[in-house]
Homo-oligomer: 341 residues x 4
């Protein structure tokens, strides 16, 4: 931490800051410039020290110089975290496709979708049983019945399944049906829920809050990691901006930045980020080209009648196009990277 003193701060101000810091058992390094004095603070710094310093007379600014997250950083762990679900790995060389309906509606719908996405190379089946909805008057999912349908489809087509959990008390129950637990964007700072999934023995798919900075997102992961669960996959799903044309603005720079900062795998959700089925394929390809470890997409037998977010779901036909193109881009990236490294 660096404490920058005001141009007109007095010797007494500086002395008081020095004493306060040393009183916390920390070391002080003074750097007196022509215009202003800068005080470096060395040692294990308590989170309350920054506001404390900011309020002292003569202090202009307090600058933090180390990141607030630890277990999620590359400095903490050498190499990559590779998450495994029933033989499917996320975080390695090959990008993974996770696909399925936004919401579980009927057994027929889920079975039909599972059959197609499996045949096209998807490795994990998605489907929502508990749906967070902006309006209380919208369809909120089938609940436990939905979990049963999803689990049955996973078994039938030999695919691990991922589904969202929305409240701490449901975590154990949802984990008994699902192979991976999803934390949605609106719960990205629901800290009790993050605590709860930090204590189960199932991987967690952690969506970025639609207004979370990278740092807040990694701190959300830190909740899960510090709870004891090291199997976290990050998912970029678009952030809120001023642009009204797309539902959110997908931030693909997140992919290389997160890979630089953290050892955790990162995937992209092109469906919820754009909100339009015809943007899903280009954004999926772009995500893979940017280095994402996979994508998670909405697929529906009949998007026009979907109970939830039909405008962004791919039809079976469109999903086939996506999977073919995605394989081609993934291979090109893999070959090109090999050739230039």
């Amino acid at each position: 931490m660096i404490v920058v003193m005001k141009a007109g701060s007095t010797d007494l101000d500086i002395e008081n800051v020095r004493k306060r810091i040393e009183g916390h058992g920390l070391q002080v390094h003074l750097s007196q410039g022509a215009e202003r004095t800068v005080i470096g603070v060395v040692g294990h710094i308590h989170s309350g020290l920054q506001p404390e310093m900011e309020l002292m007379p003569g202090v202009a600014e307090v600058v933090r110089i180390s990141k607030p997250f630890k277990l999620a950083t590359r400095e903490f762990k050498v190499g990559e975290t590779i998450v495994e679900l029933d033989g499917v790995t996320i975080g390695g060389e090959d990008p993974v496709m996770i696909a399925g309906p936004c919401a579980v509606e009927t057994e027929e719908q889920v079975m039909a979708t599972a059959e197609v996405v499996k045949a096209q190379g998807a490795k994990i089946l998605r489907g929502g049983a508990f749906k967070p909805r902006t309006s209380p008057y919208s369809f909120r999912g089938l609940g436990v019945q939905g979990l049963k349908i999803l689990a049955a489809a996973g078994q039938e087509y030999d695919m691990p399944v991922v589904t969202e959990v929305v409240t701490p008390e449901d975590v154990g129950m949802v984990a008994s049906y699902a192979d991976m637990l999803q934390i949605g964007t609106r719960n990205a700072q629901n800290f009790n829920l993050l605590d709860a999934v930090g204590k189960v023995d199932k991987p967690v798919l952690l969506k970025r809050g639609f207004s979370s900075s990278y740092e807040e997102w990694l701190l959300a992961a830190e909740y899960v990691l510090s709870g004891g669960n090291s199997q976290v996959i990050l998912c970029e799903r678009g952030i809120r901006t001023f642009e009204p044309y797309t539902r959110f603005t997908v931030d693909l720079a997140a992919v290389p930045v997160i890979k630089k900062l953290s050892h955790l795998p990162i995937i992209v959700d092109p469906s919820h980020s754009t909100g339009s089925w015809d943007l899903v394929t280009p954004i999926s390809l772009a995500a893979i080209a940017a280095g994402a470890h996979g994508i998670i997409v909405d697929v529906h037998p009949d998007p026009a009648t979907a109970k939830c977010d039909g405008a962004q779901a791919l039809s079976f036909e469109n999903f086939c196009t996506l999977s073919t193109q995605m394989r081609a881009v993934a291979e090109a990236i893999s070959r090109a990277t090999a050739a230039t490294s």
Copy 2:
């Protein structure tokens, strides 16, 4: 709802859209312009109709023309909602001051603060026992012990108390200590929590999500209202923007806009929105001038040693200045409004 057809849509496209709408038991009004056809839809419209229409051939755009919230609107209720807690009213003529520490730390701290804020005219005591924190390594509050301290201070100084609840299973327990339940900005779309506070018999202070639009915020209120709890107070607490100097950007236009749209009271939090104690007084005065029904501010006996958000807390001395100035502005507004209406 209005369905706008593409410039090049065919008669068949239009016919299909018409049939689909009528198939849902709705009425169709066709308006054929020189350039394009517009189809009005009349009747009770199901939430899935919009995406369904958007996906039909020939459709350019679907425009919603009625608001998705109902119970929160002025069209639903004539007059103002006035919330009452032990004789204190929020939503009437006089703006209310809610004050106290961000986090409950010790009995001495809360008692000392309660004494001062009560003497200066605050009507309700605030204090956090369960603190949502961005980092898992920050102080997360005293929990039940904190609730007891807060309730005792409320009793001692004869002030109703408000405190945050962060997870559905705690709602009953927190309600047994508190006179009003606060939903924090990070839980503004925690729908299970909103459901839970919709079922208790205590007023709810609903903070705006820091990335919630007015519409999403009113829909969050709609969750509480539709659960059966009509005592909701809205609280503007700043939104996330690109400006890094303040912690959030306080949106004071929310005050007159919400008063136009809804019958619910609206107050402003100048502490969390700005993040700096020296901005709290000007923003409080501005909030009152804009028509807010009150403010909620952080006050601490010694901001420099606060365990949470000390940089934004007012000292006792600064709180006295605020309360004096706020009274003056409130009276001026009240007199001026009377004179011009």
Copy 3:
């Protein structure tokens, strides 16, 4: 400037950074912590040094610790800048009302408006002759003819006039008609235009870019000040956010923050920031309560037929209400401040 080295940086990395800094004639202060080394840089720092350091091996981060603007800061100038136009002062105790039509349309329109706003206490007349419009198909103003009408109205009603200039080559010509030159939000980073108004002998009303940070806004002012023109008034006019209900989000925290950072006067535009006439009065009152040195509002004899932004213009009647209420708030603030200081 502070250079933070990576956790794993070598002695050689540190030595190289030290040499590079000293090679620029600057002094180095080393602070070696248990985890990482931090290097303070003292002396007059060239703007290219930060990226240069960021690219050196072993460097984790480079933190700037002094502000990039100079002439606009309180550190540069003691006291307040008070701008004077023909006996009207902006930046002193009394908040100033600037009012008039968004666009000059006819002589009758401007004369009628000037008469009313003058009678109601406005001190400066506004009116646009060159209008920046998002669409090339919108009304772009009367040009020189508009300037003549505005100047004539100013003379008739003895009010200084302010109008926008949109391109460097027009600066001299516009300055020959106007008492103050306005730089609009879309030209807030039109640096050639800022250079040009920096060389004239007329005050400049500098609107905040709708996506400018405080720092960028003050740097825009710095262009004018460093060009030799010290008469700059800043104008908050709303920033772009995700909220669609208002045209922009008015950022009233800008008022106390700018007053803390800079000696320049700051006013608020409640018309363009909100885009709705019925939000203009509450936001004007809030601006004054927050400490603004004035407001600039759109007024029109018949808002419904205005050629530009009619939805945000006040009718004469509504302007009278505003001016009455504003006086009351200004007096209350003035008395309350006196009582508590």
Copy 4:
């Protein structure tokens, strides 16, 4: 345009709206629902009609249903606009690489860069001579001397050159040296400048304003097109969001959206959007995968000593890696698209 009446509007309100619309020579289509009346307006609608209607008694909302841009839309022109500069085409099948230094510093620097980027497959040389800078104290470019150096390098290596023009009066002069004129992000709504480049016979590279919506960006293009210059290339270069880690947030969904709305070519600037050289390659590949017609990147012989934006410039070595990988992705996309269409 659709006028939605309030729930409680009277027959007189509706009659008045009808008369006002018909008074403008437009046709009215009434649609009376159980809850509210909706009025469709048919005919050529003047831009001032919307605010006029919004201010009438009984009107709840006015909804625009046709886009405000015309010449830029796919409805106006069938097929794609392909821009040609000396035999180089932009907008066709093959994505184009534009590369060179951010700012022209010396002849040696530009010549060395041109040689390398040409050898690696870049088709157009970029280089800034007039640099818009946030601070008046930063390097603002070599001006005419810079143009001469750039033109000489273009001639030497047989590459068309693109450079920025920042003020209307320079347009003719800059066009005498450059093959394509760039409008920078800070001038995206400098309408006089857009007018000026609309009148020259050189292609225009139009960067998106960092806070421009797609609609505002296409309206900026509309200025150039309606001035008579049909050779416009759009360039996504990142938008301003709350995320501080990258300089801007690159919005790659802009690529497929703009291709859907407009016939104009669209390229991506991965350098200015991210601000970090190590994000340039992944974002370039992602842009191509999303369907961009090309990229424009900063390359510098020695990024650490660049006078402008060195942190984002690629070294020659890194540019070689980029060009190899980009070719691989472009081929994969091309093959995959062919196979699935």
